[in-house]
């Protein structure tokens, strides 16, 4: 560790991994509810499980991003963090607020939770992914502002690199676009239109800047390739991202009441959205091939390459699959969407956070890399989780194609529930893949506790 204040990243990473486990457990419960409909009902209705599953994902990724920033920015800026105390304080605030929110979802009826937390003052709840009570949303903004203050002040007093500038831009964008979660007009079309300013402009906009910055940082460290080269790539990739992704928001505006020209704007620009992801894959492999050193942390290199490939497949290829308006007319809101969502989130954001953790965690624990035995286990977890996710995606895609055919295309369309019965085989297969994913995750956890001779000399 070059700067001792980088150590504040560690609790963030630990919390991220803990919440990740929770996310997967709830995912498996939901997967089972898809085929055994009354499983855990009424104690845990599907909508509650889903809220926990998706909100945990968002929160643990945010923990991961924040931990990554606390780790990276001192090193990039070549100075200690502005206030390690603030970072630790905000960690506990965020963790407690997050835990209370999840407990609220689980143990308080949602309508009661809304009444208790000021939803009558400003109604923001009950919209997908933005289910958090008003108090939690305000808490998120406060934590984000404190975090951004800390990171920005650190950067201001130190060296300003392209990587830290891009990271900061992404993090500021994340906070700013979250403010649209407080805007919930009565007009459903406007509600949906601006809801996407949080959701799409996060995951297909500013989050990709964070993704690019994290990947670039790790690649510099593990390959030793010249910073000038890597940062130039970074700029090219994020240019492609935002040039295609901002107008690409239009692929969500086809069928929600917005003008129909969005079918053209959305189709053309979002058809180009795979390009930045492809560039990212080429970038990762190119840099590793041109490496000037053999970094002892092979697992981190594997995660970095995996991020490039899986982000391209999940976000790029599976996104393109249903992004053109004439295709989306049939696939909108089907299991195809679910297939894309799973692989894109895993390939892009889960994997990049795990890349950073894989690189940084050994150093935070006082060694350049884990023992070979621990790394082998970590790489097993990489392959198990990644292959399981590929199969989850393939089975959901199969379910989606059948669903679209049976319910929307065939000459004698079936009802929604009749269709679901027809495709339950694929839901079972998805659930089995989910169990494999969980096994991979358990092995991942074990890899942190495997001893063995570690390489000396933390950097």
């Amino acid at each position: 560790m070059q700067y001792k204040s980088q150590a504040v990243a560690k609790p963030y990473f630990v919390a991220a991994i803990g919440l990740f486990v929770g996310q997967i457990v709830f995912g498996l419960i939901m997967g089972l509810q898809y085929v055994v409909g009354d499983f855990l009902f009424p104690a845990l209705p599907f909508n509650v499980a889903r809220m926990v599953h998706t909100n945990l994902l968002i929160v643990w990724l945010l923990f991961g991003f924040m931990g990554a920033a606390y780790y990276m920015v001192p090193e990039e800026s070549e100075t200690e963090l502005y206030s390690p105390k603030l970072a630790i304080g905000l960690f506990w605030i965020f963790l407690v607020a997050g835990a209370l929110t999840i407990l609220g979802y689980l143990f308080v009826p949602y309508a009661t939770l809304a009444e208790m937390t000021g939803n009558d003052i400003l109604a923001t709840m009950g919209r997908e992914f933005l289910e958090q009570p008003l108090l939690t949303k305000i808490g998120i903004v406060i934590v984000a502002l404190g975090f951004l203050f800390n990171i920005s002040m650190t950067m201001l007093k130190g060296r300003k690199t392209a990587i830290s500038m891009v990271l900061l831009l992404g993090l500021w964008g994340l906070a700013i676009f979250f403010l649209f979660s407080f805007y919930n007009p009565h007009n459903l079309v406007k509600d949906k239109y601006y809801w996407w300013w949080v959701v799409h402009l996060w995951v297909e906009g500013v989050w990709e800047l964070i993704l690019g910055a994290l990947l670039a940082f790790v690649l510099i460290k593990v390959t030793g390739v010249d910073r000038e080269v890597i940062e130039k790539w970074l700029y090219v990739i994020i240019t492609l991202t935002l040039v295609t992704g901002i107008i690409g928001t239009g692929h969500h505006y086809y069928w929600i009441g917005a003008p129909e020209y969005w079918q053209w704007w959305g189709s053309v620009f979002s058809a180009l959205e795979p390009i930045p992801f492809f560039a990212m894959t080429v970038f990762a492999f190119n840099m590793v091939n041109r490496r000037r050193r053999e970094h002892p942390n092979k697992a981190a290199v594997l995660w970095a390459l995996g991020t490039g490939v899986m982000a391209f497949l999940g976000a790029g290829v599976w996104g393109f699959l249903h992004t053109l308006a004439p295709v989306n007319y049939y696939t909108h809101g089907s299991q195809i969407t679910a297939a894309h969502g799973h692989m894109a989130f895993y390939g892009a954001y889960v994997m990049v956070v795990l890349t950073l953790i894989s690189y940084a965690m050994p150093i935070l624990r006082g060694r350049a890399a884990n023992s070979p035995r621990a790394q082998v286990l970590e790489m097993w977890s990489f392959w198990l989780m990644t292959i399981a996710m590929v199969f989850i995606t393939l089975f959901l895609t199969a379910a989606g194609i059948l669903q679209v055919w049976l319910q929307r295309i065939s000459t004698a369309p079936l009802s929604f529930m009749a269709t679901q019965d027809q495709i339950s085989l694929f839901y079972w297969l998805r659930e089995i893949s989910g169990v494999i994913f969980l096994i991979g995750l358990v092995i991942y956890l074990i890899s942190f506790f495997v001893k063995g001779e570690s390489r000396v000399g933390a950097q």
Binding site: N47, H186, L188, I247, H252, G257, P413, L414, F416, T419
Partner: protein
């Protein structure tokens, strides 16, 4: 990438391109807002519809259903349920939950009052009259 294409050129293209396309997005958003009243059925945003939207939100309906194709994929699309089932069926269905049929997906009982049921139905009627460019492809949603 060769030496003629420098990092500062890449950076300038990034900032220029981002600003340009974001401004274009804002311009399209402005135009969308101008065009919406012809499509979004906002003339029918009655107090009942507004109250119904709040019930829709505070019961987390989106956690299982889709509305205009957005939401969860566990239960049927409701953007056109008013057309598919009609107001009486919708109210009776909500009141009859959960069915308790073994192994079947279950919907919670929300104990809505008659007024709340009417508001919710008003909201679903309003949603069904938004011009969605003929989506969904058929009545099954």
């Amino acid at each position: 990438m060769s030496g003629t294409f420098t990092k500062s050129m890449a950076r300038n293209i990034f900032y220029g391109g981002t600003v340009f396309f974001f401004l274009l997005f804002l311009a399209l958003t402005y135009d969308t807002n101008q065009a919406l009243p012809k499509r979004d059925n906002s003339q029918n945003l009655t107090p009942e519809v507004i109250a119904g939207k709040k019930i829709w939100e505070t019961r987390n309906c989106i956690g299982c259903h889709t509305l205009l194709g957005e939401g969860a994929y566990f239960a049927p699309e409701l953007g056109n349920v008013y057309v598919r089932r009609g107001p009486d069926f919708i109210k009776a269905w909500i009141q009859a939950q959960p069915t308790g049929a073994p192994g079947r997906r279950q919907m919670p009982q929300f104990h809505l009052s008659d007024k709340e049921l009417d508001d919710l139905v008003a909201f679903l009627k309003y949603a069904s009259e938004i011009n969605t460019a003929n989506w969904p492809p058929n009545i099954e949603g």
